[in-house]
């Protein structure tokens, strides 16, 4: 991460340019297929010999239990909502992401701070505070945004796991039932993601395509990062790295 930087006021004890690895964030609304594609990307990268760490939203040792408890009804306000996720993110950043980047791993982040920015904006109408809170976050080398329209998303979610309370933004009381609320909430999130895609230069991937096409698109965005001076912990040089055939 040669040109690495923080979003805002960074961690006082760390210079991000010391990090050798690459940080890749995969963003997109709920039910868009992020985790499936991240698994496939990990496989693809590991076959080429790269060390890969995947890290997922709310999955920190410190906070995953706390967030579950909060979601069961102990936390309702916008500020503690965002701060809980920020704490989870900070824990993973300092204990997983930064150590992995320091040893030259490729870090695949299933969701990144943009998810928190979108959710807080939808709840508050204000962009600044949550961006300040996440000021200690590293700017990723690449953000792939798996974009889907809300109509397609609705069908896909109903067909697979169904709609849940939080993914429907029921705390916001946007609609009279789960379906209406889900649609409104996800539309607002997509709208905000679209704005951020321009502001933060996301690589936008059309997630309405077939899984194979999506995976190929993701790999083509990631490939250029691999050839630019990435020090793989397992491979001595870049010429051994063959692009994998698209599945």
């Amino acid at each position: 991460m040669v040109d690495a930087q923080y979003f805002g006021d960074g961690l006082t004890n760390l210079n991000p340019s010391d990090l050798k690895g690459k940080l890749i964030a995969i963003e997109g609304t709920d039910g868009v297929g992020r985790s499936t594609h991240i698994e496939m990307l990990q496989e693809w990268l590991e076959v080429q010999g790269y060390g890969v760490l995947t890290t997922g939203w709310t999955r920190s040792n410190l906070m995953s239990k706390t967030i579950e408890m909060a979601k069961e009804g102990n936390i309702l306000d916008r500020w503690s909502f965002s701060l809980l996720y920020a704490t989870d993110f900070a824990d993973r950043l300092e204990h997983e992401i930064i150590p992995a980047l320091r040893s030259g791993f490729i870090v695949l982040a299933d969701r990144y701070v943009y998810t928190a920015l979108a959710r807080d904006f939808v709840r508050s109408g204000n962009r600044q505070w949550v961006r300040d809170v996440f000021g200690f976050a590293l700017v990723p080398d690449l953000v792939c945004y798996m974009r889907i329209d809300v109509e397609t998303l609705v069908l896909r979610v109903i067909e697979t796991k169904g709609m849940n309370y939080w993914e429907s933004g029921m705390d916001l009381r946007l609609g009279s039932d789960l379906y209406d609320s889900f649609k409104k909430y996800q539309s607002l999130l997509i709208e905000e993601f679209d704005k951020m895609a321009k502001e933060f230069h996301f690589e936008v991937i059309d997630a309405r395509q077939s899984p194979d096409e999506i995976q190929t698109a993701l790999r083509s965005k990631i490939q250029p990062l691999l050839t630019t001076s990435l020090q793989s912990p397992k491979l001595p040089s870049d010429h051994l790295i063959q692009p994998a055939p698209s599945s």
Binding site: T12, K65, L76, W79, D132
Partner: protein, 249 residues
């Protein structure tokens, strides 16, 4: 959720009053706040008390983090901010809106002093708490480090706590020495905070009684225009009397 962000450093719009105390461990701030609490209640005020880092959800997490020593300055800071946000929403805002007096043992200034000593950016921590309601009165109990040490060692506690002595920061293997270094740095940060946010400095070396008299005088003055809410008890009596009176006749 649609609550507007209260502008930091601007007076809050609520009918209640928010009074906070700050100071290092051993400054006597909690004792003073407790005595103020008694006095306000004796004058018939409805008072609500809230304490730093006390929400169930976050306390459990902090305990877990401390146990496996995984807390960093950033997560330590964010956890306290989460606790504060949750308490502001559930404990501070409702009584203020109801016109009550809220007493807070430690407020955001604790984070501005302590978290900065632990190593987070002073700018970041101030932005983090920009949503905090500005207190009507914020007291700072100023005490020299040696007085705090002799109070803690000689007093009811008899010893230091691991984290308040900053033992996690590896400043010195001796707990008293570590406390001295850590809390001296916090004192220095408090000095900046006092100027920046115009905290009311109290001489915490004085007798408990003398400090309390001074504090009560200042609070009384600040409450001059405050319309106290005396709760429902008094009114309920009047209400029933109205119905009861005709019967005996």
């Amino acid at each position: 959720m649609s609550e507007q962000t209260p502008l930091s450093r601007h007076p809050h719009p609520y009918p209640g009053k928010l009074i906070t105390v700050e100071g290092i461990d051993g400054s006597g701030k909690s004792t003073q706040l407790q005595l103020l609490h008694k006095w306000l209640e004796s004058k018939g005020h409805r008072v609500f008390f809230t304490e730093w880092n006390s929400s169930e959800l976050v306390k459990e997490t902090t305990k877990r983090g401390k146990k496996n020593k995984s807390l960093t300055p950033t997560t330590f800071s964010l956890l306290h901010a989460t606790d504060f946000a949750s308490r502001q929403y559930h404990e501070i805002l409702p009584p203020l809106k109801a016109g009550m007096i809220v007493l807070a043992d430690r407020y955001m200034y604790t984070a501005f002093a302590r978290d900065v000593v632990r190593g987070v950016s002073p700018e970041w921590i101030r932005k983090l708490y920009s949503f905090a309601i500005t207190p009507d009165m914020a007291f700072y109990f100023k005490v020299p480090i040696e007085t705090a040490i002799s109070r803690l060692l000689g007093g009811t506690r008899g010893q230091f706590k691991f984290y308040e002595a900053g033992m996690d920061m590896n400043l010195n293997p001796d707990m008293t020495e570590s406390f001295r270094i850590f809390q001296s740095r916090i004192l220095a940060q408090y000095e900046k905070v006092v100027d920046e946010f115009h905290l009311i400095t109290m001489d915490a070396t004085k007798d408990i009684e003398a400090q309390q008299n001074e504090m009560r005088r200042l609070v009384e003055e600040a409450l001059k225009d405050y319309k106290p809410r005396r709760g429902t008890h008094g009114r309920r009596t009047v209400f029933w009397r109205r119905f009861d009176e005709p019967k005996p006749e």
